[in-house]
């Protein structure tokens, strides 16, 4: 990918659930294109057969006993919310009519 278009940037912003102004869209078009140009250096590498690494310090099947530990009281869990109703987080209606 050589250069992102404004349409590409709009699509990424929608996927990322970010509201961007026209000015921001243009700014990120330039910045993202520059970074993608830089990271294109990885194309030089032969990665055939190389396994991917997700975590450098590998640990597998980390388990703990399935017991209930102390949990936050409802009031504390909701304390930082902008809107609440009946002891729950309140959001805007998803379905209309």
């Amino acid at each position: 990918m050589a250069e992102l278009t404004i349409k590409d940037v709009e699509k990424i912003a929608l996927l990322a659930r970010l509201h961007l102004t026209a000015e921001e869209l243009a700014d990120y078009q330039g910045k993202l294109t520059a970074v993608l140009g830089y990271v294109a250096q990885l194309d030089e590498l032969d990665l055939e057969g190389v396994p991917p690494t997700a975590h450098a310090v590998f640990q597998q099947n980390v388990m703990r006993p399935d017991v209930i530990n102390s949990v936050l009281p409802n009031e504390e869990a909701l304390a930082n919310a902008q809107a609440k109703m009946d002891g729950q987080f309140a959001i805007q209606a998803v379905l209309d009519e």
Partner: protein, 485 residues
Amino acid sequence: MVDLTLTELRDKLQAGDVSSVAATETMLARIADHDGEIQSYVTVTAEEALAQAAEADRRLAAGEKGALLGVPVGIKDLLCNKGVPTQAGSKILEGFRPPYDAFVVQQLKEAGAVILGMTNTDEFGMGSSTEFSAYQTSKNPWNVEHVPGGSSGGSAAAVAANMAYGTLGTDTGGSVRLPASYCGVVGVRPTYGRVSRWGAIAYASSLDQVGTFGRTVQDAAAMLGVVAGYDERDSTSIKTPVPDYEAALTGDIKGLRVGVPKEYFVQDGMDEDVATSVRAAIAKLEALGAEIVEISIPHSQYALSIYYLIATAEASSNLGRYDGVRYGPRVTGKDVIDSTRRTRGLFGPEAKNRIMLGTFVLSAGYYDAYYGRALKARTLLINDFKEAFKHVDVIAAPTCPSTAFRFGERMNDPIQMYLTDIYTVSLNLSASCGLSVPCGFDRDGLPIGLQLMGNTLQEETLLNAAYAYEQATEWHHKNAMPAGS
């Protein structure tokens, strides 16, 4: 009392020569006098600090001794501190008061440390200067026209300006070592998993790790000894006992094999003074009995690309949780999606930039070409480090190719800003530990850092190498803002 190191203060506290309340009052007065200029703290918790100090004095009076008992410290604004605004340098967490403590904060409180407040950071740890904090820009105590480095810039500046005896930061791509280098203090980034990440607000989960700052190696080691540890709430934390890091500081490095990677000295834009100081530091290690071995980390030239692809991908996922429902402000739009998008518009420019890049490299059609390749290239880089550590005990290199830059210089050029981290990001991608220790000053009087890297969980060897160097030099006696200044 202002100029004491953490361990000197601790000795006086234990001897009953000073009280924790007096030390805390001294720090609070220091902050009141100087932090208007330095801007290292976003939130100062004077009342809580004095209460913690009074409690520490009771414990000290009862004869209790502890590595940090009664010692005033600062913590980075993205480590959850129960009931205290913890905002990650972001407007999207404005006013957030965590209902619980991060593991490391719990450890500090149980150890009887006094928490002075929350130190400034680039938004979610994304930056190299604190210029991406939504709240304030911290200044470098050595020259206030220059940045302190980032993202843990507030933590580094607070220690350099004697406004805390030690601080905590986090290091995802160099965010402890870089500001330590720029501010002329010691910054330690332990092995991934050495410290539980529970309650540390996430940026890139496979790279994030809490680290410590001190004026001296021993101070930073004392901090690490308290906050390190396994915790079942972080499944990536390592279940192995925490050694006595301070006891490992013998200063004897005879026969220690120090690798010097040739790739870390050829960077375009490498400052001459940095190269000279770091080479002199390596010669000093040799004079102390270390064996210098030239090594190669061939894939380090790709580290920055690998880092930005992986870190932004993880960030785009981690930051997906900020939708204004459970915490943070909410902006209401015409429907749920519009509201979410407008609320997330509260992210600052660099957070948005990284969310956008991460979203793109994970999106359909681009995943394999970008994120998938980065994960594989990461394996090659890790193999380079594994190979190197077959031949050496520690690796020595500059922390950064240059000294602290001026405000605004790199704000609009992401590549230039990202290149600041070129020597630090490899360690985060691998399973190594590392630190930055002061090794000189450039022509303008700005500090230079020597970076040392150690193998997985070899913090004792790493810290002792830095300690031996530090004790053989005078840099740690230099003070950016001595008492009375």
